[in-house]
């Protein structure tokens, strides 16, 4: 057992980008853990016990102690397994601040936009969400130019924190393209992100953690049904 590994469990949902990014980071560090899939439509005792405040995945349980919120988990993984493999976050304080800014932007602005698209009832709402998501991605296109400094990834030569934050959403963009016919990342509109997305998809450390588009589509159906039922109440 590698130093610092201890007992490691991850409560997750296979198709959640927040979970996928954590699994990618653990894979980058070569750390093994017990993965426990959660039914988020019927939350179990384990999830409620280890994340009583939000009852959400992912939850990383290290030696019985829970760490919640995916971005905090990524930082924790770097803190614990700092000397193993590549660093998740950049080393320079200013670059770290920029990476954190854009990761928060992805979670606070980008995710709600495309989830909003899944939830949308009317054509008008759908169009609004599509436009919002496209606008956000234009900003991320600029961010890539700034952060990558001509290199392959947001993090430089290898996949890092910000690559994981955005990259964990890519399979959903494929699913959304099938559902709505919109390409959120596209060679014409976002050429830098389009070529970055290809490189990200090829990166060995993250490849096997990406769920299939079919799984995402399956979940989308359940999610829409669940959300519609909740809204009807």
């Amino acid at each position: 057992m590698a130093a610092g590994e201890g007992d490691l469990k991850l409560l997750g949902l296979l198709v959640s980008p927040f979970v996928v990014r954590v699994r990618m980071a653990l894979s980058m560090k070569g750390v093994s853990y017990e993965y426990i899939e959660q039914d988020i439509f019927n939350k179990g005792e384990l999830l409620v016990r280890y994340n009583p405040v939000h009852k959400k995945v992912p939850v990383l349980i290290h030696n019985g102690k829970p760490v919640c919120e995916s971005l905090a988990i990524l930082e924790y993984i770097d803190d614990i397994w700092g000397t193993t493999g590549n660093s998740v976050l950049p080393a320079d304080p200013y670059e770290r601040a920029i990476a954190r800014f854009w990761a928060n932007y992805i979670d606070d602005k980008m995710f709600p936009s495309w989830i909003g698209l899944l939830k949308a009832e009317t054509e008008e709402e759908k169009a609004e969400k599509v436009n919002q998501t496209l606008a956000v991605l234009m900003h991320l296109e600029d961010a890539f130019a700034l952060c990558s400094n001509g290199k392959a990834f947001f993090g430089g030569d290898s996949v890092g924190y910000l690559d994981l934050a955005l990259g964990s959403n890519l399979f959903w963009f494929e699913a959304l393209r099938e559902l709505f016919g919109v390409a959120f990342i596209d060679e014409g509109r976002t050429p830098l992100l389009a070529s970055w997305a290809e490189r990200f998809g090829e990166a060995a450390a993250v490849k096997e953690m990406v769920p299939s588009v079919d799984k995402a589509l399956e979940h989308a159906k359940k999610f829409r049904a669940f959300f519609a039922a909740a809204a009807a109440k």
Binding site: A72, I73, Y94, R96, R100, N104
Partner: protein, 224 residues
């Protein structure tokens, strides 16, 4: 020029709890800086708009000519760029993760819920009240017997994140018709303790001023 030699400028707004977090952090670290008041009610300066083009919000910390945005990100940046100064985050990885979680909780919950308390009436206001009580009790649970949220570390990241809202609590109490001392006495006691801290006392404005400011906002938004 070494990072620690470059000048710090803070673009801020006097009553902003988010800006106050940064003022508290700079005071805790004894770092000199130039404070620049942005008159947000009048409009946003070119410097603010070019430093934070995405959100166009304060606080913005300029270090030399490089902008750092988002208050909690600024706090972490100060910890990392000035490693010789007292840190807000603890050094233990698990404690750091907990601190990030709870600061994020404060960010997600307090300001939003508080705004609904003074913006809304009737049933939605009642709901906001119930949520605010829940938030305060949850925070009280996390604080437990500790003097500060930072525990062994002392006054820390979560304390700095929450402290500015203590000046808003009396306004929340007035609009929500509840008392923090009754629903979450542990938090009320914590408020008194942080209030005595120099960095906090110097950065916050009196609750009455906050209440008056909310009055100005209500007028601006046409809320009764």
């Amino acid at each position: 020029m070494a990072p620690t030699d470059q000048q710090l400028v803070l673009l801020d707004f006097w009553v902003s709890p988010f800006g106050q977090r940064v003022r508290i952090a700079l005071a805790e670290k004894n770092l000199p800086y130039e404070y620049v008041e942005e008159d947000l009610l009048a409009g946003k300066s070119d410097r603010l708009l070019s430093s934070n083009p995405i959100h166009k919000k304060i606080p913005v910390l300029l270090h030399g000519d490089k902008p750092v945005n988002e208050s909690l990100i600024i706090l972490q940046y100060l910890d990392e760029a000035f490693p010789d100064a007292p840190s807000l985050l603890p050094s233990d990885p698990y404690a750091r993760a907990q601190a990030r979680f709870w600061a994020d909780y404060v960010d997600k919950k307090v300001y939003d819920c508080g705004s609904r308390l003074w913006k809304l009436k009737g049933e939605p206001q009642q709901q906001a009240r119930a949520e605010m009580v829940e938030i305060l009790r949850t925070l009280e649970g996390e604080l437990g017997e500790k003097e500060f949220f930072g525990g062994e570390h002392g006054f820390g990241f979560v304390d700095a994140a929450l402290a500015p809202f203590s000046a808003w609590f009396p306004s929340y109490e007035r609009f929500g018709e509840f008392k923090v001392a009754e629903v979450a006495p542990g938090i009320a006691a914590w408020v008194e303790r942080v209030g005595k801290r120099d960095s906090v006392a110097k950065s916050l404005y009196a609750p009455d001023k906050v209440y008056d400011f909310i009055g100005v906002l209500k007028k601006k938004y046409g809320i009764e």
